[in-house]
Symmetry: C2
Subunit: 431 residues, 2 copies
């Protein structure tokens, strides 16, 4: 069937608002490692998908899922070894204060529970997030999806702060003064919650601000903000849905922040595509929540989900993928620095392991965003067989988060294609 | 490893509040059809689990999952045929007004979206449920989990009505008067919402009131209640998470109600254990929601989830499982009627296909619930190698929802074990 026919059928049963990538959507039929193949056999280098983090259809993950799905797949109200083994293995990668896990099916469910836990614990309702955030899609988690609501939160129980950013800094400040200025915004939000009688439950942020286009987070911001939150009796929730599982060249995105969170939420890459997610906290917080909430998640942590997640941990470890994220990430950053010197559209290159954002600007001084250029580059890369996407308030930054099995050869191909795309764009004189 | 050791390890990483069945939890390691096996090799007839609805580890479902997981598992922002084919196949089983599907990962996510859709559509916040309801575990869906909050809703945006019940009827009424009385409770709740300025968004109920212990729903209640809801501009949401996919001897639990709902939510059995769920509505409602909400679910409807769900539809059709639910359900009901004549503890037997509830009472006239007897029967059945559970406000009713591949031979075994359990209990003179 051709793509137009399939698209028409899709519109009929899923609607035109179910999101699709690219001006003309692509019809992917097969995945292998860092490669995706469309229905016509065209091969794409995948620089976008962070969910199949150890590579599309990784044979070991496939093997473990296949074995388990033909043996047993039931809920967690019977004893089963795999979920216990997985919990032990996963928790051993965190600070020892984070010693209990509840498994769910999606990052949205995880953030929803984290918010419930914080509200149960504090008896307060207020949640602080950034003004370019996305943490999921349940009613309550959507209240903090400022990215989808023109920077605004929904309802009276959430407040956003300006996204901490060193490239387009608040008040033009730098260094510690900048971190302090953003942290003061957190303090202000807390004071407002208190004045309004709402009080503070938690600050919920991604420790690398992945959806906020991965800014270089101003010095000491996270530490100062966390102190304000804790002084007010609130909890610090780190959303590791994108930052976690080796993506940043460390196991967890928060390792470099100097802050041990009270709650960590997990999702996307946890099962390499299998719907598995989780929430980690201290035993005290978890018991407090579960003893009050009678929480149960039918599919959460079932034997197949636990096997998939355990296989991902095995692969990350056995294939040294955290090290790989670091090395290939650095290689890409160097390459992009060279492209920046050559192409004036590139305003800023930001990188944490294999999470990379390239901020495109019309002018290096004014830093005016270049969304049309970003769109053109993404489409050019697609034509050249490389998949990436856009991010940032103006959708003017390129977003790259390949499977972390990405090799130097893959990186070289991507850099060459990017060089070509930028050259082509400037020659067309479109800007 | 013995069960005590595994339990101790589990407590450490998952906590003591993560729910487990039975006085001494069982350690299940293998499933096949209607059978589960524990670590010591003991075989159990599974009369409890509705999720592996076409049988534990059904070979065809396993085959389709295995094939797809090794081919491609990515999100729905690329075109893919399986989700489109699944949507078409699924929607063809509904009234033609229900013609669009959004796939999610859990029934909780589905009910959360349904509530968002209704609130978007009406601009009102009020949700009506029953006083013994459970529809999932997100913050907002938990507000209507009256079953977990001593019959109470949470917050000001939800109201519950007494569970419509013909066995312990409101005011001792019968026939149409009873249905009318319960429907009037819905009307009262709507009036209160309007007085309070909250207004009505939707009534959200399971069309067979599965979690409310499957009462014989009073005549015309659902039709009258739906009319009140619609007259007030609200939507009718039917939660088919337990009632759907052939369980009741029909494809959908609402087929006999005389009401076509505005929104249907799906979950548990949809992927035979794979975390897949969904929401069905008219294109108009779905487009309205999606155009405003930018809803996206990373894992929802991915190729593996869609393949698993499609395989379940195939098996239900190819193995005539709806017919089987009807036939074996009737056989069980007849057998239970015979046991009722013999054992005075059995107060009421309620059945919809292969969903069966046996209400235990200390006295047939007063209908005083017998929770201790129910507990003893469940434990006795476990010893005899048959798994079932409890339900009802007082946890005094036996709940049976086996995989719908349950055979007459399986049913005979279950009935014999029940007969033995009741006989043993009465001989012990425990009551």
């Amino acid at each position: 069937m051709n793509n137009n026919e399939l698209l028409a059928r899709r519109y009929k049963v899923m609607g035109e608002y179910a999101p699709l990538f690219y001006d003309k959507p692509i019809h992917i039929v097969k995945g292998e490692g860092v490669w995706l193949y469309d229905a016509e056999g065209k091969k794409y280098l995948d620089m976008y998908n962070n969910v199949p983090t150890v590579g599309h259809c990784h044979p070991y993950v496939v093997k473990r899922i296949t074995e388990q799905v033909q043996t047993l797949n039931v809920h967690t109200r019977y004893l089963h070894e795999t979920i216990v083994e997985y919990s032990e293995r996963l928790l051993s990668t965190f600070d020892k204060s984070l010693n209990m896990l509840v498994m769910t099916c999606t990052g949205s469910e995880s953030n929803d529970i984290a918010i419930r836990m914080a509200r149960e614990h504090t008896g307060k309702m207020g949640i602080i997030c950034t003004d370019d955030a996305y943490h999921g899609n349940t009613t309550v988690v959507d209240e903090i999806a400022t990215q989808f609501h023109q920077g605004q939160v929904k309802g009276c129980n959430v407040k956003s702060i300006p996204t901490p950013d060193s490239y387009r800094p608040l008040g033009g400040l730098t260094g510690k003064a900048l971190g302090l200025a953003y942290a003061n915004k957190v303090k202000q939000a807390i004071d407002e919650f208190n004045t309004e009688g709402i009080g503070l439950a938690a600050m919920l942020i991604c420790p690398i601000l992945a959806n906020e286009s991965l800014p270089d987070i101003p010095e000491q911001f996270i530490q100062l903000a966390a102190k304000h939150v804790r002084d007010a009796g609130g909890l610090v929730i780190f959303d590791e849905v994108q930052a976690g599982f080796g993506r940043t060249g460390r196991m967890w995105g928060h390792e470099k922040t100097g802050v041990v969170p009270d709650i960590v939420t997990l999702g996307k890459p946890m099962g390499n595509g299998h719907p598995v997610a989780g929430v980690v906290s201290s035993a005290k917080l978890m018991d407090e929540f579960r003893s009050r909430a009678e929480y149960f998640n039918t599919f959460g942590g079932n034997p197949v989900s636990a096997a998939a997640a355990l296989a991902v941990l095995d692969v990350i470890e056995n294939e040294d993928l955290i090290e790989n994220s670091q090395q290939i990430g650095s290689y890409l950053k160097e390459g992009l620095a060279q492209l920046k010197a050559k192409h004036s559209l590139i305003g800023d290159v930001r990188q944490r392991g294999l999470f990379i954002v390239v901020d495109l600007v019309l002018d290096a001084k004014s830093k005016e965003p270049a969304p049309e250029a970003a769109h053109a580059i993404v489409e050019s890369m697609k034509r050249q067989g490389v998949l990436l996407s856009k991010t940032g308030v103006a959708r003017s930054a390129l977003k790259m988060r390949p499977p972390i099995v990405f090799s130097q050869e893959n990186a070289y191909q991507a850099l060459s294609a990017l060089d070509h795309a930028f050259t082509e764009l400037s020659q067309k004189g479109k800007l």
